[in-house]
């Protein structure tokens, strides 16, 4: 009866026992995998762990690289900063792993390898005690039976008594062990919440680690970004004009000035300059060379088409066209004015609305193109030709409409805007331009006529004297026509031998000429 009782009692405990074994196995596995996640070696001291981390090795390699490249190299600087950051990340990681190891891994290990096995050991111990008790009890029962049938009652009674004592002792031991075991088991399960908590702690620790790493990275990022931005050797191609000028401290964009200077040396008499395409590989090389301020440009003096191509390419790759998106409509409207004189004035007004940097670069370029057009007898690039091939690089519409719209926007329109500006460059921009703004670009061996290129000669700038709005008094666009008509009158009279008339109105003519010249 007692045995049965014990077994029914045992049923609940047996379930608990099985679950406990399960808990042991899964905890063991979890521990094993967690250890595998650690990058450091488990059980070693902090310093050694830190040294062994892959991040530390990375940081070391970066710092070495930084030292070798030196301070003047951007890559070197960046490697040093990055290496430092990686080192700090490595410390964080080490801290985190130490923490995990102490708080979670060790306790988990304790649970799986010590606590539960101890309880299970106790369970086995109990089984043994139960057996002991059973056998003692059997012996005692046997003894009591033999008292009834036996003869030597006294001796038998004494033996039975001693056996009874053994039974009592065994039962006592068993009961003790059983109670202890039950207590431990219930204890274990009452602490399940504590054991489960390790997993919360694991995630908390990981979150904490990542947060700390993130904070660290975020504190480093602005510095390293600032370092990156402060580097002036950024490519000019594809960079906004204002940004490029500001960063390089220039007035005229480097590619524009470099190309113009080179073309002034060797390109002015080249047939089809800006029209004939350059070799693609040469063009690529020159563009890359212009992006890198330390490069040598001498070799390109002999290839004006590549230089012209690079200039076109630079203008085309600007995020915003040199003549700006904002003024696109105004340029178009100005070019649509039917009266030629009024059209010029409208263009002039629009031109003056260009932002400062754009205007300076535009002026520089237009002055150069006008100079190029002067040589059109040789290079065949008349203002109209230049406008056709270069115009689409100076102004384009922002909105990407249909293909037909784009075509309309890129070709014909722009030509009617650019051509008159090149034609009348000296009316738009009367002041002379010194093309050698920064003095960076000159031929390797300067030629005697070099000087002429640097200060453009005064050419027939007085042929067209149109009024600029608000700058001169007098009716719009009257002067050139009046001038030519007077000359015509004089010539016709001369031809008709009307000397007396000429003499008669001599003073009048002189007077009119003076007005014109003024």
């Amino acid at each position: 009866m007692e045995k049965n009782q014990f077994e029914s009692d045992d049923l609940g405990e047996w379930k608990i026992e099985r679950r406990m074994e399960l808990v042991r196995v899964v905890s063991h596995n979890a521990h094993k995998r967690m250890v595998a996640c650690l990058q450091g070696q488990i059980g070693t001291d902090a310093e050694k762990r830190h040294k062994k981390l892959p991040l530390t090795a990375l940081s070391q390699a970066m710092q070495d690289g930084g030292n070798q490249l030196g301070e003047e190299s951007l890559i070197g600087k960046m490697m040093e900063m990055c290496g430092d950051a990686e080192n700090r990340l490595a410390s964080e990681l080490m801290q985190h792993e130490m923490n995990i190891e102490k708080e979670i891994l060790d306790t988990l290990n304790q649970l799986a390898e010590v606590d539960i096995p101890n309880i299970l050991k106790q369970r086995r111990q109990l089984a043994k005690l139960v057996l002991d008790y059973d056998s003692a009890r059997a012996r005692w029962l046997q003894a009591t039976k033999s008292i009834i049938s036996g003869t030597n009652t006294q001796a038998l009674t004494a033996k039975a008594d001693s056996l009874k004592e053994e039974v009592d002792e065994a039962m006592n031991k068993m009961e003790l062990c059983k109670d202890q075991l039950s207590a431990d088991m219930y204890n274990f399960f009452s602490k399940e919440a504590d054991y489960a908590r390790y997993y919360v702690m694991l995630l908390e620790a990981q979150a904490d680690y990542h947060r700390k790493s993130l904070t660290l990275l975020e504190s480093v990022l602005p510095t390293i970004q600032a370092q990156q931005d402060s580097w002036t050797e950024k490519p000019a191609f594809g960079t906004a004009l204002d940004e490029h000028l500001k960063r390089s401290g220039r007035e005229i964009a480097l590619p524009i000035e470099a190309c113009v200077m080179m073309l002034l040396e060797t390109g002015m008499n080249e047939e089809g300059l800006f029209r004939i395409a350059a070799g693609a590989s040469k063009l690529k090389k020159l563009k890359a060379a212009l992006d890198c301020s330390t490069s040598q440009l001498e070799e390109f003096y002999s290839d004006p088409h590549a230089v012209a191509g690079a200039l076109k390419s630079y203008l085309r790759e600007l995020p915003e066209p040199l003549m700006t998106y904002q003024l696109y409509d105004e340029w178009t409207q100005a070019s649509n004015v039917p009266d030629p004189d009024k059209r010029l004035q409208a263009l002039w007004v629009t031109c003056n609305q260009l932002p400062k940097n754009n205007k300076a670069n535009f002026r520089y370029l237009i002055k150069f193109l006008a100079k190029l057009a002067q040589e059109s007898d040789v290079n065949k690039m008349t203002p109209s030709n230049i406008a056709i091939v270069l115009g689409p690089n100076l102004l384009w519409a922002k909105t990407e409409g249909s293909l037909a719209e784009m075509a309309a926007a890129t070709s014909v329109h722009v030509v009617t805007i650019i051509e008159p500006i090149i034609q009348h460059a000296d009316w738009f921009f009367p002041e002379d331009v010194d093309f050698n703004v920064s003095g960076m670009f000159s031929m390797p061996a300067p030629l005697p006529n070099n000087v002429n290129h640097l200060t453009p000669p005064d050419y027939d700038s007085g042929t067209i004297e149109r009024k600029r709005p608000g700058s001169m008094v007098g009716p719009d666009g009257e002067l050139p026509r009046r001038e030519s008509s007077i000359i015509t009158i004089v010539i016709v009279l001369y031809w008709l031998n009307c000397y007396n008339l000429i003499i008669k109105y001599y003073y009048l003519f002189i007077h009119l000429f003076i007005i014109i010249i003024e």
Binding site: R275, I276, H305
Partner: protein, 187 residues
């Protein structure tokens, strides 16, 4: 009547317009004006079959500023004349990219095409050898190749006739109902 849309492509100044004007009007233009957009038509009665053929020519410049339209031209064109000048190496080198672009837009290897080395009257200034042109054409899965001169009227008609022949071979006459025009645009 069948319509052929031929596209003439090449770098600036290689003589696309000159070839076209020579073909269409029989004159040599001395002007050095870059073409923005131009179209020509020509009836070719004496040509291959006895029915009148109308050829529409489209001339597209390689200048990078006109790239926006290039895809469209390529999509609509049926035959392509890729022109370089035998006096300028760079105009020759650029054609490889151009061919690849055409094949990409057309999405097939089999596009009626002819490689043309123009200005062959300027033998003194030659820098691109005839061999080079032939080799190039061979690499382009045996594309047709001609050296021409718009000025001296050498091989001008042949360029366009060859293209028309290639188109006829590729799309025989029964498909003609769909297309009824031809034009030519100078860029």
């Amino acid at each position: 009547m069948r319509e052929y849309k031929l596209v003439v492509l090449g770098s600036g100044g290689v003589g696309k317009s000159a070839l076209t004007v020579q073909f269409v009007q029989g004159i040599f233009v001395e002007k050095y004006d870059p073409t923005i957009e131009d179209s020509y038509r020509k009836n070719v009665c004496e040509f291959i079959s006895l029915q009148c053929e109308l050829i529409r020519l489209l001339i597209v410049c390689l200048q990078e500023q006109f790239t926006a339209m290039r895809d469209l031209y390529m999509k609509n064109g049926q035959g392509f004349a890729l022109v370089y000048s035998i006096t300028a190496q760079s105009t020759f080198n650029d054609l490889q990219d151009l061919r690849e672009q055409i094949l990409r837009v057309k999405d097939t290897e089999d596009v009626p095409m002819i490689l043309v080395g123009n200005k062959c009257d300027l033998e003194d200034e030659r820098v691109v050898g005839k061999e080079q042109g032939q080799n190039f054409a061979r690499q382009w899965s045996n594309c047709a190749f001609l050296e021409s001169s718009a000025k001296s009227k050498i091989n001008v008609n042949e360029i366009f006739y060859d293209l028309v022949r290639q188109i006829n071979r590729k799309t025989p006459v029964e498909k003609k109902r769909a297309k009824k025009k031809s034009n030519c645009i100078l860029l």
